[in-house]
Symmetry: C2
Subunit: 388 residues, 2 copies
């Protein structure tokens, strides 16, 4: 990696309430988030639009959505690009917007994400297109099944970890999400609730799994000059960016209990930022299943391999703990409209760094991290944000 | 637009034969093109991968293809991004790769495109997802129908243009494509062939329409330092980049006979390059239907509005004419695997600038242009390449 051309700041964020949005169309949902972000930034125009979305073609029979959204937002004419990497589409949209500003191509870029998953298609089938069609999905396995294999292996390798520890991830994230007005499921749950919920794929039960969600999120990225001129919010700079891939099929991996794409994307972001895991004050990570949060927090370097679940048990990832994780409620409680998730993570961390998170505010964080991944970590994107 | 951070060069190109590739999988097709480009460049690694593809989810039940391809190419681990803007996906992939190099993020980026359209899905239905689902496709109209309305309006507004002139676009492009070993349909056709071919949507007949194709193309983008160090080919720099959008629904447009996204994307690219339409020596444009090439060559500034068809009749767009257009055979004869088309245009122009186009070589071109669009120009991407 060479020197990055220009510094990039998050100058505006927008995210409406997520859930089953039966009364809104795909374009309604996205534009609502975009207008919130534009209003928050206080800009009178945007130069370009990047949208992360996994499967609008399969869910909504609409490809070409970047042009659709530019028009519906009232800015037709500007360049607009959709990027996709399954559930990491949102993270990659932010990374692509970062490059658009850093390269000198444009000064003010809206990076957003959207997914409307409840519109009729079989979402389990659609999500399975993020797995290897020829070696996994063809044989009938779905994502809960893939993550269940990962969970079983983890529990086998690290017998100090108990089944209850996985449940504690969901309990913590629902506790945070209950304080987030935009979360899909705003209620606290108990370990007993998790352990008695419907079995999905042994050992994972319904309350170990992130839900199916309609939703969008958007951020405005801009140069330092634009941020300083507007001077509206505390300056939040993207100081680290990383992206990496892995085989999307699990059977091709050396290990089921560590995600190399997460390690590599984090390494790049830490290197660009000149920071270490110990420097992070708050993090949003990809808890599509309870086991995922545990493995990811280890691969990000917050905890030693095999100690992630124990850290949850000890309260280290709670608000007020050593490293608060998923203060937003995470995918589990906030919801997981797949293409929007990576962008919503940037929304949460930006608000935390600004001190705008209300009841779930971490105490004066200076540096935050987001980690968003596709499939069973066939792709991963990490961003590090710093309050200037 | 600010100053672009770093210069970007096309240092390698790859494109295998296109057609109905029943004996190859989606991943086979892409990797074959990527290996050709890597070999042509003479690089021993790539830092990142960008893939343009419109609908692998709908055609092949496989999203998340950037990770799939990175793995299958033997470079798993590197960042990989899919970008989509319907039939302009390939052009946007090159633009995104350009930003990745220009921003300082990476030095050597592979930008490719792929579509495998013959795998079973109803391709007319899939292509219709590039039109407005709520205002166009829902009512049953398909792309030949949309372009037929455009053609009828053009013939009405410019009565000097004859139906036969549209046919001459297909005749010229098949003449060029017959000399391109990688074209799907390598045979010359006559005006009579076009006018007696099956009616698709009046006035457009089968031989006015680009075909359904399986295919891929790839280019390697790199910094000036990398290009100079390898010193393998004449230096081909991307000096202009433009992208723009329009409503994707035709009924929202002011005019059917001019594409504002084409004009805007061209304007950006000319401005960045400091060049005018008169400076272009060879061009690849998006002739998805015969009428499209005529309108696009006008909107690019090669000819006055209303004079594009007459220019074809007068031989101005032939090899040896004032401005040769679609020396590759264009979408019509070479084929149109939608996500790959914009990348293949860069392949053709790069080879023309290098002087490697054999029987269809333009005489010593110094500057070439590519124009790739989505839907009925709901998006358009323009690149200008210069031989240094």
């Amino acid at each position: 990696m060479a020197q990055i051309g220009r510094e990039v700041y998050v100058i505006g964020v927008g995210m409406p309430k997520w859930g089953e949005l039966w009364d809104k169309s795909l374009r309604d949902i996205f534009v609502e988030s975009a207008l919130l972000a534009i209003d928050d930034a206080g800009v009178d125009h945007i130069d370009s639009l990047i949208i992360g979305s996994m499967s609008p073609g399969l869910y909504n029979k609409q490809e070409h959505i970047a042009s659709v959204m530019a028009d519906y937002l009232g800015v037709k004419g500007i360049p607009a690009t959709r990027v996709e990497s399954a559930c990491a589409s949102g993270g990659l949209a932010v990374r692509t917007g970062f490059m658009e500003v850093a390269s000198g191509m444009h000064d003010i870029v809206l990076a957003g994400g959207v997914e409307k998953m409840w519109d009729g298609e079989d979402f389990t089938m659609v999500l399975a297109t993020a797995a290897d069609q020829e070696y996994e999905a063809f044989h009938g396995i779905t994502f809960p099944g893939l993550y269940a294999m990962i969970a079983n292996r983890y529990l086998y390798e690290f017998p100090d970890t108990k089944r209850e520890d996985l449940a504690l991830v969901s309990v913590k994230n629902h506790k945070n999400g209950a304080k987030n007005p935009r979360a899909q499921y705003r209620k606290e749950i108990t370990v007993e609730n998790v352990l008695s919920s419907t079995m999905v794929a042994d050992p994972l039960r319904l309350l170990d799994c992130s839900p199916v969600t309609d939703g969008a999120a958007a951020v405005i990225l801009a140069t330092k000059e634009v941020a300083e001129k507007l001077n509206k919010h505390p300056f939040t700079q993207i100081v680290g960016v990383g992206a990496a891939t892995d085989t999307i099929a699990l059977d091709k991996r050396d290990s089921l209990i560590s995600f190399s794409s997460v390690r590599k994307s984090a390494e790049q972001a830490y290197k660009m930022a000149g920071l270490n895991p110990q420097d992070i004050n708050t993090a949003e990570v990809h808890d599509c299943f309870s086991i995922a949060e545990i493995i990811v927090t280890e691969d990000l370097g917050f905890f030693e391999k095999g100690k992630g679940a124990i850290a949850v048990r000890e309260g280290k990832t709670e608000i007020g703990g050593k490293i608060p994780v998923n203060t937003s409620g995470g995918l589990k409680s906030k919801g997981h409209p797949v293409g929007a998730t990576g962008v919503a993570q940037i929304v949460e961390v930006t608000e935390q760094l600004r001190g705008e998170s209300g009841d779930r505010q971490v105490k004066e964080p200076k540096i935050g991290l987001t980690q968003n991944m596709g499939g069973t970590a066939g792709s991963s994107v990490v961003h590090i944000l710093k309050r200037r």
